[in-house]
């Protein structure tokens, strides 16, 4: 008649199912989407993270002297969707499993990732290009590492030179 009585009795026998947290650490699955983690070594300042961020949690500002960019991710605006990490081409942004983000109201605005990313320099002419740290070269520049370190202009010139060389060789051999 009372189907719930059975469950109640079972509850009494089985004992509490309460997690020990907060007296013991809580179980966190490795897939958990916690706060974003930023590796400045891998960032190429492409801005795709900012482009896909619906919450406007990411800002990039060029420094006055043009030597780099200030990268900011404000955790109190981030909605933990992980789109930035999904679209980041170099894996500079990842979602950690850290959810211990509780803080007091006084720290409201300081709860952020702040990092200065210097621009890279063209190996030939020294013009400012996207950052070229070793981590980035290893990740996306391995096809032609030398050319990867050039600015678009020098890169173009180098390609043209190569093409010219290729075209030129047979011409010299057949006078």
């Amino acid at each position: 008649m009372l189907p719930f009585l059975k469950i109640m009795l079972r509850n009494l026998i089985l004992g509490p199912s309460t997690d020990p947290f907060p007296f013991a650490p809580a179980k966190t699955h490795k897939n958990f989407r916690g706060c974003a983690v930023f590796d400045p070594e891998k960032c190429i300042l492409c801005g795709i993270c900012r482009h896909v961020c619906a919450a406007g949690a990411i800002q990039l500002r060029v420094s006055e002297d043009g030597s780099g960019m200030q990268y900011m991710l404000w955790h109190n605006s981030c909605v933990f969707c992980g789109m930035c990490a999904h679209y980041c081409p170099t894996g500079a942004l990842t979602m950690s499993d850290n959810w211990h983000l509780v803080h007091t109201g006084a720290e409201m605005f300081s709860n952020c990732i702040s990092s200065f990313i210097p621009f890279g320099e063209c190996a030939q002419c020294g013009a400012k290009i996207q950052p070229r740290t070793q981590a980035i070269i290893d990740k996306i520049g391995e096809r032609s590492p030398e050319r990867f370190l050039l600015c678009p202009k020098c890169k173009r010139e180098s390609i043209v030179r190569n093409v010219a060389k290729v075209n030129h060789l047979p011409a010299e051999e057949n006078p």
Binding site: N31, H51, V52, G82, M83, H86
Partner: protein, 362 residues
């Protein structure tokens, strides 16, 4: 109005209501004479926001329309974008989307029936139902990384694959869930208190259901066998075997039981998906630009039919993105259901349409 009639304001911040909504109820003794619904407390202007955000950002934005059906929204939005631009979603991604949808459906339905128990004051049963829901919450956290907003859908596919570690984990959670779900159904079906409190109240006849064009479990409990998954199939639903649940009583009790039966069907669907899922990519890397034009997409969210209309002018933000959520249709039918009920039943009846105000008001 007689002198015994007085106005009882319910809400907007009322404990029985999960969300801010407002009724002015004319009460005579304990009987409701008329109900005036006032809406707009959760209106965040999301359609205007959607017109300012680009197509990528809108995936996340639509997910935040409502966290109880937070997979249906981005999924239907992506379907609209894909319909417009002709992107073909890989087969595996279609399966993954269905799995995410059904996982959310189970959790959402369990939450609703749990709240129903809570509203009858049966807190032990509420806790029991919510404990069962925790199995699904754990599954969501383990597979997708968040307990509410899965972040699974993107334009052209899905983000997280179900691999050798998460697949068996999900299956294990389902095995854990199934017997408990069946037992819970028995409790809700037979418990005398639940029956006394919920049978015969909040009645919606077949005709009234047609007239108000209600959707989802509310419609199905009144005998309108409309399920988008069958009527206008999307993703891989045509390849899946499941039954559309219907009932004819159209009261609060039958709606709750119908939701539990649907949850059981969902378990079945997920298991089939895990079995049948083909290998392959889960999304397409290169997305073509979205052409100008218009497209619609529909899906069956936990609360009923969800509809998206997208209009593009070829820029990277939509010209117009409009969505119609199930509660939007069911809400007006409350006028019929609440007529002449008791004050004690208001919350129960409102809860029986599984209202999602944040969906409705956007």
């Amino acid at each position: 109005m007689t002198s015994t009639t007085y106005t009882l304001p319910v809400g907007p911040l009322h404990v029985a209501l999960e969300e801010p909504m407002y009724f002015d109820i004319q009460v005579e003794g304990e009987t409701v004479r008329s109900v005036e619904l006032a809406a707009g407390h959760v209106h965040r202007g999301m359609e205007a926001l959607a017109m300012q955000r680009n197509y990528f950002q809108n995936v996340t934005l639509t997910e935040r329309v409502c966290s109880l059906c937070s997979n249906s929204h981005p999924c239907t939005y992506c379907m609209a974008v894909e319909n417009l631009s002709g992107i073909l979603v890989p087969q595996r991604a279609q399966y993954l989307r269905v799995i995410a949808d059904e996982v959310k459906r189970i959790a959402s339905h369990l939450f609703n029936v749990g709240i129903m128990a809570h509203l009858t004051g049966f807190d032990s049963l509420f806790m029991h139902a919510m404990e069962i829901r925790e199995i699904m919450q754990d599954a969501k956290e383990g597979v997708y990384g968040n307990r509410m907003n899965l972040g699974q859908c993107i334009i052209s596919g899905c983000r997280r694959d179900i691999d050798d570690s998460t697949g068996p984990f999900l299956l294990g959670q389902l095995e854990l869930l199934k017997p408990q779900l069946d037992e819970l159904y028995g409790v809700f079906e037979r418990d005398p208190l639940i029956r006394t409190r919920t049978r015969g109240i909040g009645l919606l006849s077949f005709e009234a259901a047609k007239r108000h064009a209600v959707v989802g479990p509310v419609a199905r409990a009144s005998g309108v066998a409309y399920d988008v998954r069958r009527k206008a199939p999307y993703a891989v639903y045509p390849d899946l075997d499941f039954e559309v649940q219907t009932d004819t009583k159209g009261d609060v009790h039958s709606r709750a039981l119908l939701r539990l039966r649907e949850a059981v069907e969902s378990v079945k669907i997920i298991k089939q998906c895990l079995r049948q899922m083909p290998e392959g990519p889960i999304n397409i890397k290169a997305i073509p630009p979205i052409p100008p034009g218009e497209a619609v997409a529909r899906s069956e969210a936990p609360r009923g039919e969800l509809f998206y209309y997208l209009r593009s002018d070829g820029k990277d933000t939509p010209q117009r993105l409009k969505w119609r959520v199930p509660t939007y249709m069911n809400w007006e039918a409350l006028q019929d259901m609440l007529a002449n009920c008791q004050v004690a039943d208001i919350a129960l009846i409102v809860n029986s349409i599984d209202p999602c105000i944040s969906c409705t008001e956007r």
